[in-house]
């Protein structure tokens, strides 16, 4: 049985070096990915300029922000659907293409796990399955230090440094089964993914948790839009997957499942609990979610999407303008080679 702990701590669950200093994310890889993606209109068509624009904005939030200066972008649009999802895709893909796993990552992650107290709940992605368990310290086996994981009552298994990237700390308690089992199949490693991100990054992408994008808005709207299918042509056929799979949106009620992004309703009690979480990028879908929650993640790069057909846009725009005036030294210019598509208005600053 798994129950939710009262204080969510899944910032701990992220792989600590998910955006290490000094690594240059591959913008070229991202652009290639965007060019391959198709949406379904009357037939499968390449992404429209506004769709690509939002993917690029999402990636830009990641690449153009640092510890010292966080990028805040405000965008007004004629209609809100899909904008935040494309931006989240940019952030998620940029994190993925910029972060192939390395031995240093594994070593740092091993040390992090070894430092946690025994009994810490974890998920362990092994091959195609995920097992839930608890950390049980380290042990020296044949000259190598390995991590011990308790996966059933009275039963431990060892995990080497090289394999430890598959272990994620959970923010939910884990009840151990009486006997060791095979676990649950890992959430799909869908074929389309391997077309969008480098092969060496796919394993960590599907098996590790990272909150590359936190989307705050009307959850039901964003969730249903995320079910829309997108495709990448491969030879004479198409690889199709819903956007939610590319974004690996966190599923509630699926403990141990890996995720790369999350959707939270601005009216949901979860939004208040997420203040301790450190998402790589926060994306607000609409004026009210921004006005209500923007102070919650002051250190996160932020995108605010305002629908000009909805009320309260002026209030949110005024709040952004006001903050922009406070950070006069933080001027931000859109890349000169980035054309703004029809109907989109953009402002931004570093804070």
């Amino acid at each position: 049985m798994v129950s939710f702990s009262s204080k969510p701590t899944y910032h701990r669950a992220e792989v600590s070096p998910s955006r290490p200093e000094g690594r240059v994310p591959s913008s070229r890889q991202l652009i290639r990915s965007i060019e391959m993606l198709h949406f379904q209109g009357s037939d499968w068509q390449p992404l429209r300029p506004w769709m690509r624009f939002f993917v690029e904005l999402g990636s830009m939030l990641s690449t153009e922000s640092s510890e010292a200066k966080r990028l805040v972008i405000g965008v007004s649009v004629p209609a809100r659907p899909f904008a935040v999802l494309f931006a989240a895709l940019g952030s998620v893909l940029m994190d993925a293409v910029g972060n192939g796993e390395t031995s240093q990552d594994a070593s740092a992650h091993f040390n992090y796990l070894a430092s946690l107290p025994a009994g810490t709940p974890v998920s362990w992605h092994r091959g195609t399955n995920t097992v839930l368990g608890q950390l049980a310290g380290t042990r020296d086996l044949t000259g190598q230090t390995v991590l011990m994981i308790k996966t059933a009552r009275g039963f431990k298994q060892s995990c080497s440094v090289g394999a430890c990237l598959g272990i994620q700390v959970l923010d939910e308690d884990v009840q151990l089964p009486p006997h060791p089992g095979k676990g649950r199949p890992v959430r799909g490693r869908i074929p389309l993914l391997t077309e969008l991100i480098p092969a060496q990054a796919v394993f960590s992408f599907v098996s590790q948790n990272a909150l590359s994008a936190l989307m705050i808005g009307t959850a039901s709207q964003i969730t249903i839009e995320a079910e829309t299918g997108f495709a990448v042509p491969k030879g004479s056929h198409l690889l199709v997957a819903p956007l939610e799979e590319l974004l690996r949106i966190r599923r509630t009620g699926h403990p141990g499942g890996s995720y790369r992004s999350s959707i939270v309703g601005s009216n949901s009690p979860r939004a208040a609990k997420l203040k301790n979480v450190e998402p790589h990028v926060v994306i607000f879908d609409g004026a009210l979610p921004y006005l209500r929650w923007h102070a919650s993640w002051p250190t996160a790069p932020t995108l605010v999407v305002l629908d000009r057909s909805q009320p309260h846009g002026d209030e949110a725009a005024a709040a952004l303008d006001q903050e922009r005036s406070l950070y006069r030294s933080g001027k931000w210019q859109l890349d000169s080679d980035m054309n703004i598509p029809d109907g989109i208005e953009v402002t931004g600053y570093y804070r």
């Binding site: 949406f39 379904q40 209109g41 009357s42 429209r48 506004w50 769709m51 405000g74 007004s76 649009v77 004629p78 209609a79 659907p81 899909f82 009307t218 039901s220 709207q221 249903i224 839009e225 079910e227 829309t228 309703g265 601005s266 009216n267 949901s268 009690p269 009210l288 209500r292 305002l306 629908d307 000009r308 057909s309 909805q310 009320p311 846009g313 002026d314 725009a317 952004l320 303008d321 922009r324 859109l334 054309n339 703004i340 598509p341 029809d342 109907g343 989109i344 208005e345 953009v346 402002t347």
Partner: protein, 518 residues
């Protein structure tokens, strides 16, 4: 909830880049004369405007002015009901002649209104027709500021024009939908159509307004410093009001008379008169006032975690009816409310509980009364401190108020409930009462599910197209004893909160157009 089509959204981006706007200023001499006289009267009533007689008189005249300035129908059309306005003004002019020195100007106002009726002009309608009948496209929308007369206007204009044009009549809230048209003709100044310019829904947009309601192109950009393709989302515009004329007008007609706004104060006071309840003193909640289609308003609970049933006409099957948090409600959405007779969720739940209902509700009321009494006697601050000491981790003033209310069941966790029981001295009954809480909660859940299922089933049979036009659809669910449920479009939501009796929440009340319609 339906998934928006990416191509539709794509169209909106394209429209936003290339929409054109044309302003058509219409002269209506008699109404200009009426507005100038009303302005003269108001300016001469300094210090007397708060008097109920003058308030009623000016509100009546103002309402007539606004109806004529926003409705493309002849003055004598029965949907406008100006005959009653003219009669009222005439009667008031006689009283005014006796009680004040303003009799002549009031009499002149009444004469103008009578002349307007006699002449029976329709300058806005004529202008709109000439635009629509000159179009070569296929689909157009005639937009009104308010939905009240949309049916009458649709009947007057027809759904197909002589040139084959398909015409839909809608209100300003239709602009929040994703539907697009070849042409939109909006009646009244663009200030009444917030997003018409900022988020166009048609390539060709016409704003038909009277000369006394001057208008100019509103900015489309929402940020102070921003970039966009072209010059800050600048539109192609032509025919906007000449500034010199607008300035000249300001000297003869009060701008305030011509502002389209919702008078929340008037609506709120109307609601108080109609829905007074004997328990008003006891149980207050924070609420927002919502203006609904067909001249109704309702208070909705604006406390943390409260939600309302909404209907999404675009969605299919099970997704058509859902609960939405009050913060997520916006104009254009459809609220589901009980408008006549029938039961609320608690009453349907009682039916599910059967014979046990009386005993369970009685026991529930016993501890709620004890909690209310204890909180009052010891004071809220002390009560909260004691509750926390007893292990209630969620003790707050708001929660205690909720727990004492009959519209909530009990604390969510058994540990918090046990603390409340200890606080009111019911320790010995805790386990039994908690079981009752679970039973009642289960019945409420079932009642909610039954109501939702019945609504979804009814909606599957209903003609939802009328919702777009009138903003209202009534549904009977006799099997649940739920009386008449109405699906009502939200026209506006008050920016401020009101503290009102819990019993007034979700109880729609009718409002008189003249009382709130600026």
């Amino acid at each position: 909830m339906s998934v928006p089509d990416l191509l539709t959204v794509d169209d909106l981006y394209a429209l936003s880049g290339g929409a054109q706007f044309a302003w058509h200023e219409v002269v209506y001499d008699r109404l200009e004369s009426f507005a100038a006289k009303l302005t003269t009267l108001r300016r001469s009533l300094v210090g007397e405007l708060d008097d109920p007689f003058w308030q009623q008189l000016t509100a009546t005249a103002r309402s007539g002015l606004w109806i004529l300035a926003g409705t493309p129908l002849p003055a004598s059309h029965q949907a406008i009901s100006l005959a009653a306005t003219a009669e009222r003004l005439r009667a008031m002019s006689m009283v005014a002649a006796e009680i004040s020195m303003h009799g002549p100007i009031v009499s002149a106002l009444a004469e103008d209104m009578e002349a307007i009726l006699r002449e029976d002009l329709d300058p806005l309608g004529d202008s709109a027709r000439s635009i629509l009948d000159g179009l070569t496209e296929e689909r157009a929308c005639l937009l009104l500021r308010w939905p009240r007369r949309a049916s009458a206007v649709q009947a007057a204009f027809g759904t197909t024009r002589p040139n084959g044009l398909k015409l839909t009549v809608g209100s300003a809230s239709a602009l929040r939908e994703l539907d697009t048209y070849d042409t939109i003709v909006a009646i009244g100044p663009s200030t009444g159509f917030e997003s018409l310019i900022a988020a166009p829904r048609a390539r060709d947009n016409h704003i038909v307004h009277l000369r006394i309601t001057p208008d100019r192109a509103r900015k489309a950009a929402v940020f102070a410093h921003s970039k966009s393709k072209g010059q800050r989302l600048q539109r192609q515009v032509k025919g906007v009001t000449d500034e010199a004329w607008a300035e000249q007008l300001r000297t003869s007609v009060d701008g305030e008379l011509l502002e389209a706004r919702t008078e929340w104060g008037a609506i709120a006071s109307g609601g108080q008169r109609q829905t007074q309840h004997e328990d008003d003193v006891e149980d207050f909640v924070q609420a927002r006032l919502v203006l609904l289609a067909t001249d109704l308003a309702v208070y909705i609970d604006a406390e943390e975690g409260s939600s309302n049933w909404v209907l999404d006409p675009r969605a299919q099957g099970d997704e058509r009816v859902r609960l939405e948090g009050w913060r997520e409600l916006i104009p254009g959405m459809f609220l589901v409310l009980r408008t006549e007779g029938g039961s609320n969720i608690a009453m349907i739940a009682d039916r599910i509980l059967g014979r046990e209902a009386t005993r369970l509700r009685g026991d529930q009321q016993r501890w709620k009364d004890a909690l209310r009494r204890a909180a009052r006697e010891r004071g809220m601050v002390t009560a909260l401190r004691e509750l926390r000491k007893l292990g209630c981790g969620v003790a707050s003033e708001q929660n205690v108020r909720n727990w004492t209310s009959s519209s909530t069941i009990a604390p969510g966790k058994p540990s918090d409930f046990a603390a409340v029981m200890r606080f009111v001295g019911f320790d010995g009954d805790t386990d039994g009462l908690w079981k009752q809480v679970l039973t009642i909660r289960n019945a409420h859940r079932q009642a909610g599910q039954q109501l939702r299922a019945a609504l979804i089933s009814e909606m599957g049979r209903a003609d939802l197209s009328s919702l777009t036009l009138t903003g209202r659809l009534d549904v009977e669910i006799p099997a649940l004893g739920a009386g008449t449920l109405s699906v009502l479009r939200i026209e506006d939501i008050s920016p401020d909160e009101y503290e009102i009796s819990r019993y007034r929440v979700d109880e729609p009340f009718s409002i008189e157009e003249a009382a709130w319609h600026a």
